[in-house]
Assembly symmetry: C2
Homo-oligomer: 355 residues x 2
C-alpha cells in the first residue's frame, strides 16, 4: 500500500499534503500502538528515563506529545511525582488514553488533551517536553515538526527536551539475501530465463528504501558513521527542509557492497547536572526495535576490498508538497587502497521516501 | 490496508464491486508474482503436474488462465510438446509474459492473450484448462468464477480441469502466542492495567480472520476435517453464492480451544486412466506455502479435554455487492465426553472476509 500510494496521481489541490486523515486514522487503531508498546527496547528506554530522573521530576510539569495510549505519561505518574502531566494526542485514541489514566488511578496527575500539537492550549508552560516522535530513518513522517512547534510554545526557558539529541547513522553493507531474493532470483528460476523481469525488479524493489530491514553486524562493511546530528534545543522547523551530511568509511573486510543501511540513536539528558544520559540506539549492535533498519540499495552491487574507502554525501530533502515525505540523495566515491588503486568509481542515487 | 478497506464507506454505485482496478493493478506489479514463484510447494506442484503428464500432453491444446508471468505455460513448453498453449492474463504483466516466452524460445508454442477470462477470444476450444486460482481460505477473491466461465466457454467436452477438485479443511486449534500477543498483552504491561483496551483489541484483531497464520501440527486439537469439497467439472457459478459444510471433531488432547484454522488442498488428476494424481496441500503437515493458513479466533478461549467433541457447521456466504469478498459463519457445539458431561456449550460467530 505504501508502494501503491507512491504511484498515485499527485494532485495536492484536492488532497491534504499532510495526509492527516490517514496519519491520525492509523493511530486511532490499536495495531500501531501495540507494535510500539510491544517494542521493549523503545518502551523500556522511556521508562528508564523517567525512573532514573524520578527524584528530579518531583513537582515538575511535563508534556507528553503524541502520547498514544499514554504509556510515558503513566510511567511519570507511576514512577515519579510530577505536579502535572499533559498527555497530548491528536487521534481518537485519546478517549481510551483517558480511560487508561482513570483505570490506573492517575487522573489527578495526568490530563489528557485531544488535539494537534499546533492547536492545543495548556494552562501553563512545562518543564519537560517528552515525545516519541522518531520515524523510519529518524525523520520520516516529520512528527518532529510538531515537537518543535510545541517546544517553542510550551516549554519554559531552560526546560528539558526528551529526547535531547538525535543522530542518523549510516554504514555501507552487504545485503546478500535481499539481493538474491529480489534480483538474482530471476536469473534462472526452474531452469527458465526470467532476466527480462530484472529491470522491473530493480524499479520495484530498489528505487525506494527498504523499511524494516534487519542488518546483522557481520553485514556491515565498515564502522558506522553519524551523518546527521540534531540538537533538539536549537533545531528549527526550517532546518528540516534540507539536511546535509558527509561520510567517510574505511572498508574493514572484503565483500559485496550492496548499499547503505541507516538507523538512528536518541539521547535523553539527565535533569541533574552530571546525571547519566539514557540512550535508545536502533542499530544492529543494540536490541531489536520495531523500527528495525532502513536499507538503500545501489543499482548494481560493487565488490570492495579491505582498505578501500567509501566517502560521500547525503542530502535529506523534505518534499515541498507532501510534508511527511522526503527524498534521500546519496553520492559516493569508492577509492581503492594503495594495494588496489584502480578500483575507483563514483555513484549517485536519489530515493523517494515515499514521495 | 485490508482493514482500512473494510472500514471505508460502501457505495457500490460509484465503485466497481469487483474492484478490478485494484485487483489487476496488484497483479501488474512484480511483488505478488515473486511471492508466488518463490513458493516452491505451489510452483513445483504445477511443474510436477506437467512433468508427470508430459507424454499425454503431446499435441494437446492448453489454456493457462491468469497465467501471471507465464510459469505454467513455460513449463508446458519446456517439459511437454503441446500443440498450443494459450496463456491468458488480464493485468499489464501480460506484456512481460510475452517477452519471457520469446526469451525462452517458446513463442511458437505459447500465445499470450491479454484480457479478462470473460472477454478473451480463442481460435479453438482446448483440451486442458489449467489455472492457479486459489486464494486465502480457498475461495477468497473468487477468481474461481473466471475459471468456471472459461471452462464453460473454452474447454472441449471431456477436457481436463487442473486442478480437478479442491477441498477446504478445518481444525479446532490452540493459538497461544497470537492470543498472548494481541489480547493477554493488555493485562498488565509494564505493571500497568491496560484492560480497557481489550474490547478494542477483540474488535480489531479477532473480528476478521487472520490471514498468513502458521499453525504447527501440535496446535491442532483434533484430526482435521474437510468441510467443503469442490468438483471443478460440475461446480457452477451460482453454487458459489452460499456454500455449507459440517464438521465433527473428537478432541485428541486437552488444551485451550482458541479458534479454528482453515487451509485447502487441490488435486490434479492424470490425463491417463489410472495415472497418479498430484496434490497440493497447504496444511500444517505439508511444506510451507505463501498462503500459509487462515485463523478464525473465538471471542473467548475455551478449555477442552481429550474426548470432548466439537461439532457444527460452516457457511461461506459470498458478498452480494463486493464480489471478491465473503462472510464465513461458524456455529459450534462443544460436548464433554462421558467422563466430563457438564462441559457443554455452543457458539456462533460470523467473520467478514473482508467485507
Ligand atoms: Ca514513532
Ligand atoms: Ca492465487
Amino acid at each position: 500500500s505504501q508502494d501503491a500510494a507512491g504511484e498515485e496521481e499527485e494532485d495536492p489541490s484536492i488532497e491534504d499534503p499532510w495526509q492527516d486523515e490517514e496519519y491520525f486514522g492509523n493511530y486511532g487503531t490499536l495495531r500501531l500502538h501495540l507494535e510500539m508498546l510491544s517494542d521493549k527496547s523503545r518502551t523500556e528506554a522511556y521508562r528508564q528515563v523517567i525512573l532514573s530522573n524520578s527524584a528530579s521530576l518531583s513537582s515538575k510539569r511535563v508534556m507528553d506529545l503524541g502520547c498514544g495510549t499514554g504509556i510515558i505519561s503513566l510511567f511519570c505518574a507511576q514512577l515519579a511525582r510530577p505536579s502535572m502531566v499533559y498527555a497530548v494526542e491528536a487521534s481518537s485514541m485519546a478517549e481510551y488514553t483517558r480511560q487508561l489514566v482513570k483505570q490506573n488511578g492517575y487522573d489527578e496527575v495526568v490530563t489528557v488533551l485531544q488535539g494537534r500539537a499546533e492547536e492545543i492550549e495548556l494552562p501553563e508552560q512545562v518543564d519537560v517536553l517528552v515525545s516519541e516522535w522518531m520515524g523510519n530513518c529518524l525523520l520520516f513522517e516529520f512528527m518532529v515538526e510538531s515537537v518543535l512547534l510545541a517546544r517553542d510554545r510550551w516549554l519554559r526557558d531552560g526546560g528539558t527536551m526528551w529526547p535531547s539529541s538525535a543522530a542518523l547513522t549510516f554504514v555501507p553493507c552487504q545485503a546478500d539475501s535481499y539481493y538474491a531474493e529480489k534480483m538474482a532470483f530471476w536469473e534462472r528460476p526452474y531452469g527458465l530465463d526470467f532476466t527480462p523481469l530484472q529491470p522491473l525488479a530493480q524499479q520495484e524493489f530498489f528505487t525506494k528504501p527498504k523499511f524494516s530491514h534487519i542488518i546483522e553486524p557481520c553485514d556491515c562493511l565498515a564502522a558506522p558513521c553519524d551523518v546527521i546530528s540534531l540538537d533538539m534545543y536549537t533545531l528549527q522547523v526550517g532546518d528540516l527542509e534540507e539536511m546535509k551530511g558527509q561520510f567517510h568509511f574505511c572498508v574493514e573486510k572484503s565483500g559485496v557492497f550492496h548499499g547503505f543501511t541507516a538507523w538512528f540513536t536518541v539521547c535523553f539528558e539527565s535533569l541533574e547536572a552530571g546525571g547519566a544520559t539514557v540512550e535508545l540506539n536502533t542499530g544492529p549492535n543494540s536490541g531489536p526495535t520495531h523500527w528495525k533498519q532502513t536499507l538503500f540499495m545501489l543499482d548494481r552491487p560493487v565488490s570492495v576490498c579491505a582498505g578501500d574507502s567509501i566517502s560521500g554525501t547525503i542530502v535529506l530533502q523534505r518534499n515541498p508538497v507532501w510534508r511527511r515525505h522526503m527524498t534521500v540523495t546519496l553520492h559516493w566515491t569508492i577509492k581503492g587502497s594503495t594495494d588496489n588503486p584502480d578500483n575507483s568509481q563514483a555513484g549517485t542515487k536519489s530515493f523517494p521516501m515515499w514521495r
